[in-house]
C-alpha cells in the first residue's frame, strides 16, 4: 500500500500512509487510539475507498472496491469483534455465503466434512458441528482463522486478536500464526501489547495522527524507541489550565472491582483538581467509573465522599452524593435524539420545576438557557431536536445536563470525542473554570495531549488495574504509554 490518503468530512484520517507486507512475515501495525490503523485496514478490506494512493499485491496493481474484491485478492480480516453467526454451526460459518450444494439445496454433509478437514489440518480441536455460541472466544478466533485460510488468503489481518483471550490461548494462537507464515502467508498484526511484538512480529510500522511515521525491524529496536515514535507529536496550545493548590480529599475509592473489566482499582480525587484517567481501550476506565456511579450491579469496593463511606447502588444515589457522570458514548448513552434541547437539558432536574402535575414552564426555559449560555451551545431554539446539532454542541448540552445537577464531582468520559477543535477548546476552558470554582473533575480520555495538558494528576490503567499515578510534573506521553502498555 503506497501513499494512501483518506479524508472524512472535517478529518484527514490517512495522510500519505505506506505499508509493505512480505510473504511469510508478521508485520505489526502500531499506533495510539485514533492513529488511523483501523482506517488503513478498512481501506485494505474494501470498506473504505482511498482518495489517493495505490495497492499492489504480488506486483500487480489492484483496486479493492468492496469486501468481495478483498477476498478475491486473498485478503482476509479478522476483526476485533468477531463477526461469526452465533446460532449457526462452525461449518456453516466457515462456508457462509458460498455454501456447497446444487441449486438451492445445501450439501450439509460435504460442508461439514470439509470444515472438519480444515480444522484438523490446523490441529484445532473444534467440532465442525458445534454451534458458534458454545465456543470460547479463543476457539471462535480459530474458526475465523480457518475461515480465512479456506479462502486461500495470502494476507491475513488480525486486529488485536489477544485482547480477550488467556495466555495459554495466546501461545496456541502464535503457534498457528507461525505455521501460516511458514506456508508463506503474510500477517498484518495490530496490537497494543509491546511484549507480543517481540515474540511474534518481524517488522513493525508505526502510525500517528493518520500519518506514516516509520518502519523498523523489531529485533533492532527497543520498546522506548517505539513509544517515542508513537507519541512524538507536537502539543497544540489550545488548552486553558490554571493550576492551583488542591484541597482536601473529596473522593476516595478503594479496591473497586466489577468481576470482569475492573480489578482492585484504587484512587482518590481532591477538591479543585482535575484527575486524568489514561489507558488503552479496554483498560477498564469507563467500567471503573460506572461502578462508582452505581451503574454496575454487584460491583465491589469502598467509596468515600468527603471522608464518609457511601453506598451507591444507582445513579440516583450517586447524584445525591454530588457525583455526576457524562457518559462516553453520547449517541448510545446520552442523547434522546428526537427530543428537544430543552428536554435533553432538564431530564436530570425535573424535580426542580415539576411538582405533581404543576410544570413551571418558565423555570424550565430558564434552566435550559442558563446552561446554553454557560456552555455557549449553538442551537437555533430550545425546541430544536438535539439530533440535529453538531457533535460539539450535543456534547455541550450533555455536560450542561449534568452540571444542572450541581455536582461536586464531575466525571467526564471522553469529553471531547467527536468534537471539533473549537468546541474542544471551549470545553477545556469550562473545565478550568469549574475547578477554579471548587468542583473536582475526573476526566477519562484516550487523547494523551488532553490528559497531559489538563490534569493535575494522571492515573494510568492497564487491564483493569491502576498501573500507576503520575504527577503533573512527571507526566509525559512516554511515561503514560510505559504504564499503559505493560
Amino acid at each position: 500500500m503506497e501513499h494512501i490518503h483518506k479524508r472524512f468530512p472535517g478529518v484527514y484520517a490517512l495522510n500519505d500512509v505506506s505499508y509493505e507486507l512480505r510473504a511469510g512475515e508478521v508485520h505489526a501495525l502500531l499506533g495510539e487510539n485514533g492513529a488511523g490503523k483501523s482506517t488503513l485496514i478498512k481501506v485494505l478490506g474494501g470498506i473504505y475507498h482511498p482518495e489517493e494512493g495505490e495497492i499492489t499485491i504480488e506486483g500487480k496493481k489492484v483496486t479493492i472496491g468492496g469486501v468481495r474484491d478483498a477476498q478475491d485478492n486473498g485478503i482476509a480480516i479478522i476483526h476485533q469483534e468477531l463477526v461469526l453467526v452465533p446460532h449457526m454451526t462452525v461449518a456453516e460459518n466457515i462456508f457462509l455465503g458460498r455454501e456447497h450444494g446444487s441449486g438451492v439445496l445445501i450439501d450439509r454433509k460435504k460442508m461439514t466434512e470439509e470444515a472438519q478437514a480444515l480444522l484438523d489440518a490446523q490441529e484445532i480441536n473444534v467440532d465442525a458441528n458445534a454451534l458458534i455460541k458454545d465456543l470460547t472466544i479463543a476457539q471462535q478466533q480459530m474458526v475465523e482463522i480457518v475461515k480465512a485460510i479456506s479462502y486461500n488468503s495470502k494476507i491475513l489481518v488480525m486486529d488485536e486478536p489477544t485482547s480477550s483471550i488467556s495466555d495459554k490461548e495466546v501461545a496456541f494462537l502464535f503457534e498457528t500464526m507461525r505455521k501460516l507464515t511458514a506456508k508463506g502467508v503474510g500477517i498484518v498484526y495490530i496490537s497494543h501489547k509491546m511484549s507480543e511484538l517481540e515474540e511474534i512480529c518481524d517488522r513493525v510500522t508505526i502510525m500517528r495522527d493518520g500519518q506514516y511515521v516509520g518502519t523498523k525491524v523489531v529485533k533492532e529496536t527497543t520498546k522506548d524507541d517505539l513509544i517515542a515514535m508513537m507519541v512524538g507529536r507536537e502539543l497544540t496550545n489550545y488548552y486553558t489550565r490554571d493550576y492551583q493548590e488542591a484541597g482536601e480529599t473529596l473522593l476516595r475509592c478503594d479496591n473497586i472491582s466489577d468481576g470482569k473489566m475492573v480489578q482492585d482499582a484504587s484512587f482518590e480525587l481532591k477538591k479543585g483538581e482535575i484527575v486524568g484517567f489514561a489507558g488503552l481501550v479496554g483498560a477498564g476506565r469507563s467500567e471503573t467509573m460506572k461502578c462508582i456511579f452505581g451503574l454496575t450491579k454487584g460491583s465491589k469496593g469502598d467509596v468515600y465522599v468527603e471522608g464518609k463511606k457511601v453506598n451507591i447502588q444507582s445513579p440516583i444515589d450517586a447524584l445525591k452524593y454530588g457525583i455526576a457522570l457524562v457518559p462516553e458514548d453520547r449517541k448510545l448513552e446520552g442523547l434522546y435524539h428526537v427530543q428537544s434541547v430543552r428536554f435533553n437539558s432538564t431530564i436530570e432536574v425535573l424535580e426542580q420545576f415539576i411538582h405533581g402535575i404543576a410544570v413551571d414552564g418558565k423555570k424550565e426555559v430558564d434552566i435550559t438557557q442558563k446552561y446554553i449560555d454557560m456552555m455557549s451551545t449553538k442551537t437555533p431554539t430550545q425546541e430544536q431536536a438535539i439530533g440535529n446539532l453538531s457533535g460539539g454542541n450535543q456534547q455541550k448540552v450533555m455536560i450542561g445536563r449534568w452540571l444542572a445537577t450541581d455536582p461536586k464531582i464531575l466525571i467526564l468520559d471522553e469529553p471531547t470525542r467527536g468534537v471539533d477543535v473549537g468546541a474542544k477548546s471551549e470545553i477545556y476552558a469550562i473545565m478550568n473554570q469549574l475547578v477554579k470554582e471548587g468542583m473536582s473533575i475526573i476526566m477519562i480520555s484516550s487523547e494523551l495531549p488532553e490528559i497531559i495538558n489538563m490534569s493535575d494528576r494522571v492515573y494510568v490503567m492497564a487491564e483493569g488495574r491502576v498501573a500507576g499515578c503520575l504527577d503533573h510534573a512527571e507526566v509525559t506521553q512516554e511515561s503514560i504509554m510505559q504504564l499503559a502498555a505493560n
Binding site: P315, I316, A318, L335, Y336, F343, I354, I357
Partner: protein, 328 residues
C-alpha cells in the same frame, strides 16, 4: 411578565402541534366536510345525535389508544388489550348477574382485572428482556381463554337497568362514555405532558440506555405504562359490556389493532420516543368517523376494512414523506 411568557410558550406549542400534524388534521377536516355536504350523508352526519353517537363509538377505542400511545412511545406494544375488554366485561357482568353484587363493585372488579393483567405484563416486561410483543401476545391468549372458560362461550346477560348507565346512559344530553373519554384524555394528557413520569416515558422510549445513565428507574416506568394500559382496557371492557347489556367473551376481538392504528395514524413512531396524545385523538377520530361515514353510505362491512387499511397506509405514508423531507 412570567405569565405572558408562559402564555406565549403555550400558544407556540399549539401552533407547533397544528403544523406538525397538518396532514392528519387536514384529512380529518376533509373527511368531515365530505360527509357533511355529500348528499347521501348530509342529512344524517351533521346531527347532534349522530355526532354523539360517533363519539360514543369512538370512546372504547380511545381508552385503549390512550394506554397504547404510552406503550408505543415506550417502544413497546400491548396486544392484550382487546382480550382484556372481554375478560373485564364478562367478569363485571358476572358479578351482577351471577353473584348479585352491587353494580359499583362489578365495575371496579372489571377495571381491576385490567389492572391485574397490565401489572403482570409490566412485571414480566420490566424484569426480563422478553419482547413486549411476545409477553402481551401470551396474555392476549390467556385473557381471551379465561373469558371463554368463565362464560362457556356464551354472553353473560345483565337485566338490571342501572347496568346500562355507564355504557349507554346520558348526563344531560351527553353520553356517559363521552364524559369518561374526556376525563381519561385529560388524565392521559396530564401524565404525559405535566409529570416526571411523562418525561421518563419519552426518555426510556427514546434511548433506554441513556435513561439508565440518567438515573431513571426504567423498570418502574415500563411497569407503570403497562399497568395503565391494562386499566384503560378494563375500563373499555365495562363500558362495552354495559352498552351491550352483557359481557361477551368475543368482545374486543381485534380492538388492539384499532388502537394501534389510531396511535400510528396520529403520528406516533413505532420506534418509540416520540408522539403526542393529541395526535392519537385525531387518529381515533379519523378511524371512528370513517367507520361511521362508511356505515351511513351503506358500504358493505368487508369493504370498510379495505378502506380502513388504505387510510392507515396513507396516513403513515404522509408522515414518512414529511419526515424524510425534513431530514434532507
Amino acid at each position: 411578565m412570567a405569565q405572558e411568557a408562559a402564555k406565549k410558550a403555550s400558544s407556540n406549542k399549539v401552533a407547533a402541534f397544528l403544523k406538525e400534524n397538518m396532514g392528519i388534521i387536514g384529512a380529518l377536516l376533509v373527511l368531515c366536510v365530505f360527509l357533511a355536504v355529500f348528499p347521501a350523508t348530509s342529512g344524517s352526519f351533521l346531527t347532534s345525535k349522530n355526532i354523539f353517537n360517533v363519539l360514543r363509538q369512538i370512546s372504547t377505542n380511545m381508552f385503549l389508544a390512550c394506554g397504547m400511545t404510552m406503550v408505543i412511545i415506550l417502544g413497546g406494544i400491548d396486544l392484550s388489550v382487546g382480550s382484556i375488554i372481554a375478560l373485564s366485561g364478562v367478569l363485571a357482568a358476572g358479578c351482577v348477574s351471577r353473584y348479585n353484587l352491587p353494580i359499583a363493585i362489578a365495575l371496579i372488579v372489571g377495571v381491576l382485572i385490567g389492572l391485574v393483567i397490565g401489572v403482570f405484563n409490566g412485571f414480566v416486561i420490566s424484569s426480563t428482556t422478553i419482547p413486549p410483543f411476545i409477553v402481551t401476545l401470551a396474555t392476549m391468549n390467556i385473557a381471551r381463554g379465561l373469558a371463554k372458560v368463565y362464560t362457556g362461550g356464551s354472553p353473560v346477560r345483565v337485566v338490571t337497568k342501572e347496568w346500562q348507565f355507564i355504557g349507554a346512559g346520558y348526563v344531560g344530553f351527553v353520553p356517559v362514555p363521552v364524559i369518561l373519554m374526556i376525563i381519561v384524555l385529560i388524565i392521559t394528557a396530564l401524565i404525559m405532558n405535566k409529570t416526571k413520569m411523562g418525561r421518563h416515558i419519552y426518555a426510556v422510549g427514546g434511548n433506554a440506555q441513556a435513561a439508565v445513565f440518567s438515573g431513571i428507574k426504567v423498570s418502574r416506568v415500563k411497569f407503570f405504562v403497562h399497568a395503565f394500559s391494562g386499566v384503560m382496557a378494563g375500563l373499555a371492557g365495562i363500558v362495552l359490556a354495559s352498552r351491550m347489556y352483557s359481557g361477551q367473551p368475543t368482545a374486543g376481538e381485534g380492538a388492539e389493532m384499532d388502537a394501534i392504528a389510531a396511535v400510528v395514524v396520529g403520528g406516533t413512531s413505532m420506534a418509540g420516543g416520540s408522539g403526542k396524545i393529541g395526535g392519537t385523538i385525531i387518529g381515533a377520530l379519523i378511524i371512528g368517523i370513517l367507520n361511521n361515514g362508511l356505515n351511513l353510505l351503506n358500504v358493505n362491512s368487508f369493504w370498510q376494512d379495505v378502506v380502513k387499511g388504505i387510510v392507515i397506509l396513507l396516513a403513515v405514508f404522509i408522515d414518512y414523506v414529511k419526515n424524510t423531507k425534513s431530514k434532507a
